[in-house]
Symmetry: D2
Subunit: 382 residues, 4 copies
């Protein structure tokens, strides 16, 4: 493996490339190239400087989506919704048009899942070749799927290969995306709580190919706050009795999560950290679709805890944020870190990326401070 | 110095021994002896087990106060105010009566400040001898003082000794308390933001005597939360523009802080951490005396930050807690940790206690997670 | 009908007489007799003085319940939970013991619903005779029932009588309670959203007997606030787009409402007002059972509205109250007002009591201010 | 006085004509003419229809300001700050340019206050004549002034006239504005808490001229909410113990209120209603200038109240609104209502406009619901 040279370019293949998160990521990277401040970009913090992460302006975007709306149109909608600043569209229009050429609209064909994987992998390889990319990192930012039922073929690669070649569907789209990435020699990160890399067989597949993967379910708002508050209560030996949460959001993400089956994926992922950190606590988490809120999310959390001699106290917080604007810089961070992992020959799960996720793969550490330290250690250790 | 033997007892000398925090501490320690759960006690967490900290039931309380109300009466008031559980009074009455014998009511005499220090030190020595204590740790939990004007005698021990012997007042009560502790061979912790160990001469005095000191201004509520939220924003590279806070509280502490001069001590201390962590941010902090709220405190904080591409977002939190019930277990923690420091021959400032304080002495670390790690490291390293 | 004389006593028959609301009502009325301040009692406001409402100390309590726990025990639990002040138990013990003699524990017998009504009516008549009461007012404060399926017999009194005499169940307990009250010549108020007086036949029954009835679902917290905020937005022509709410509560009421079927009754009732006041708005209402919160309820509401030229704004509120302590004085108010209605020969629905209810019977007025004016007008007009 | 004919036009003279409120008012009226929805306009509610209020498109704007920034520039800034929708500028540019011709930039001359009044009155008269207006209503939307010291000349018109002719300053700018309006035959409304019509002599002046006046201090956010919540607590006989408030805002209004002297005017006015409604309650109100919040205001209120038997409960609310967008439609409402008052020959104070104000002139009614009813009654009674 050669050392990265200055003119090397890295491909970022986004599954869900026309969604709010992807559009904000692509437009944001362009804005940074035009002089924007790198607010929200963790890998631009001083702790990460000088460790050879690929510069943002060396990232080239491509991706799949099931919809075909041009990025420029998507951007206009985000600007109208207050998610992105007015004037950004004219600034980055040329960049979006360039990226547009790298986007592939997915069509449903009557083929086996194995053939579908191969077709998607071919798209990624063509992108890499056309753009002369040294490597490609894939990231899933598509809508959250409903939980996928277990299947015997999920147990090992051999069974999976056989099943995929058959006429039946054995994996959801997110897992096909992961396998397509691995087929094309790309790393894979799941930014969502979908099934993707959960089945053991999918993970083995990556290991066989000598590729890294990571995820899942980026923590951008309520869960981010939980990941510092829960350790605070623990460190102070304060007993948490109940933690209740309500999330209000509109937009496309809200509509998806309004479906109780999708919400199940989200909630499972959201609640894992709290239980890992505090044990069993009472309280529910609601995700409500509130159309007039658009891409803005408001989360309210209410915590009941007791101090010395059992005196009951409460804390509540309200978080009002725009998920896309919080998520997009993390996508850029994960792209840079995945590229470094590929460079370093990292194989299999990347638990050191837990800092970014609600449901960190192969890790039970949820304290943001410790996750941050772990990430910095990994970046520096090479 | 001998290894601590099993039957050794440690004296805890409280300045402000009849205040809400002290009463809750003394009654709480008694309740623990009678089988209460150690909620809120950091030093009872698994991380601290097996490192020879003195057991709570080996702590013997004594102290000074300017008021003479019996502890039992003070306790009744705290119970009536909902700060402590009903039934506690009958459980711990005998313990409080025993402690009562160790409390000295301060009277104003027309003596030099040097003589006053000596008189207080004599009280502490008498306590240690009468109770056959192996060592004494002193903690200031008296009402917060107004900032004390600088004085040339604060610069070094020699000037200070000379000035103290003279007829003028050169130090506030909190600093006399610290010097009395050092005179009596005790460690000293300031739980408040008062002047106490701030003057260089007072610190030199401790070093001369080979004694440790620590503080200041325990973080029990709003600032505790700040010490995890501010690092969260930093770790995510989110730019904080404004952080505003309003604290509402009644009770004795509230009345003291309603005085703008005292509030100045409090606010300086409260705001230091935020500036150290986030640089200059807009916003003010208010402390309002609201009599009907009694010993309960409600803090509301409002934070304006921006994410990617400058999109403005906000977070707010409301903390409703009872300061005495949050503070008391920390006093017990600090007593145990001070005893360990004396045991280990620690001299001078104890920055590893920063976990407990808004304005950690000789430390610029305000991140609760890192402060916790530092504390555990110190406890374990011996 | 004679004018009420000074020594007349009014019976208050409570269905659910050992629940939190009933216990707080009975203990509270006793406390008032012993000199307590009438906080929360609307009918003690100056607007209601001098209009001949029966004094609180002339109310005599009786009632049905399916549980047999003594009132004194129930009171102790409420005191331990912080719902009622310490010391109240010794103050009112004698009063509760006296009331205890008027409580009847309901047993399930294999009888027709007509016979059950008659048995309950006999209990009420016996109470009136034994205590020499001039009149009896019945109030349902039992646990909320699930919605009851419509039945042809609900359409008119004749069909209902026939069906009740048969072997099948055609009405839920709350409706039997209403009919028993009417049989015994008592008025009936439903403090809950249960079925009770909803069927047309039950209402006709009251009218036949020349008796008044009222309800439903007392507004004590979140809905109370809604009933002033929604008219505020209307009066200012501000367009409300979404109104979301989360209610957290433990205790017996919380456990009942955790059952999705019961919650349906509650939510239907809760949401009616908002729709009547603002038309269709987005947003959901959650009622979560959070055991550690006991009898205390916390509601958080989030409102999205727009001002001039469509600028989006938000309001949120958090209400932390104790439902029993808010409900009990209203039960006393409703008892006094029902007694006045009986006195005045009021027959059928009492829409002028809408001030107290989320789902005011035969009224579409939900603005608290207008409801108050209507109530005062009714009281004064006689 | 003739009945208003269809082609009559009414002048609206704004003191502070280039401020945020004025710019939003002028641009908003233009937007309505171009088909915008009348959200936030009280006088467009059905209750006010058919009572001859002048149509919005018959209002012609003019005014004084000390700054000369063109309206179009001011509008651009408000759009950039998210106060007004993107695209509004191109829609209303022509309208603003037309209004620009009616604006007079105030210059400081070394003249007596009487001469200054005359000069301003001449500006108003010239406006009326040039635009062929049937009448002019004046409204003060300039920055809030500090409280003005009492002066003997404030007692009656005769003394005032004499003093104004002298070389000393005896009135602040807001009062000169009121007098100029009266001199020019215009009505005067103070939208701010400034001194303007507070002195008795200024009111007599209006009465002498047979003109109406009203105010003061429009309630647009926190106080609006207070004016429905306080009556709610009263109507339910719930005892309010404390009401604390914190207002965070940036922008020009924030900067003015950051000055403690100006804040005094604001606070006096804000607190009057609460005391009138609830008597003495504990708690303070803070107004903090938080530059990064721009024209958006966030208010947090915390209320401590007790229910039955003294149980303490709390309510808190957070209001996030844009003052200019809330204020502007009220300016249009007040213009229309003032025109009606002139038409009807109303002389002196207009207490029936209390619905709009924190400190309603010659009225102690602060309940929004009753104020609304009073307003509707007045509109209909003619």
């Amino acid at each position: 493996m050669s050392t990265r040279t200055g003119d090397e370019r890295v491909g970022v293949w986004l599954f869900g490339a026309r969604g709010s998160v992807a559009t904000t990521t692509i437009a944001g990277a362009a804005a940074l190239r035009h002089g924007g401040a790198p607010v929200g970009l963790v890998t631009e913090l001083p702790d990460f400087a000088g460790h050879g992460l690929v510069p943002i302006d060396r990232l080239v975007f491509g991706g799949h989506d099931i919809i075909g709306t041009p990025l420029v149109k998507r951007l206009e909608r985000l600007i109208a919704g207050g998610v992105l600043p007015h004037g950004l569209d004219s600034l980055v229009e040329a960049d979006l048009t360039e990226t547009e050429a790298n986007l592939v609209t997915i069509e449903q064909h009557d083929v086996s899942q194995a053939e579908q994987i191969e077709a998607w992998a071919a798209d990624i390889r063509a992108f890499a070749q056309r753009q002369q990319l040294s490597k490609v990192v894939a990231i899933n930012v598509a809508s959250t799927e409903a939980p996928y039922p277990p299947h015997p073929a999920h147990a090992d690669v051999a069974s999976l290969r056989e099943a995929l070649a058959g006429p039946d569907e054995v994996l959801p789209a997110s897992s096909l995306a992961a396998l397509a990435a691995f087929e094309a020699g790309a790393s894979f990160i799941d930014f969502t709580p979908s099934t993707s890399i959960r089945p053991e067989a999918v993970r083995q597949y990556a290991v066989e190919r000598g590729l890294p993967f990571g995820g899942q379910d980026a923590k951008t708002g309520e869960t981010l706050v939980k990941s510092v508050l829960a350790p605070m209560f623990s460190a102070r030996a304060l007993k948490v009795h109940a933690w209740s949460g309500t999330n209000l959001l509109g937009g496309g993400d809200g509509a998806t999560l309004a479906d109780p089956r999708t919400a199940e994926s989200k909630n499972t992922s959201k609640e894992r950290g709290l239980t890992d950190m505090l044990g069993d606590v009472a309280g529910e988490v609601h995700i409500d679709y509130v159309d007039p809120m658009g891409d803005w999310k408001t989360a309210w959390d209410h915590i009941v805890f007791s101090g010395f001699l059992g005196v009951r106290m409460t804390m509540q917080f309200t978080w009002q944020g725009c998920d896309s604007a919080l998520a997009a810089p993390l996508v850029l961070d994960l792209a840079r870190l995945s590229a470094a992992a590929l460079e370093r020959g990292q194989v299999g799960a990347m638990p050191f990326l837990g800092f970014f996720f609600k449901d960190p793969i192969e890790s039970t550490e949820h304290s943001l401070a410790r996750q941050y330290d772990e990430l910095v250690r990994w970046v520096r250790e090479w």
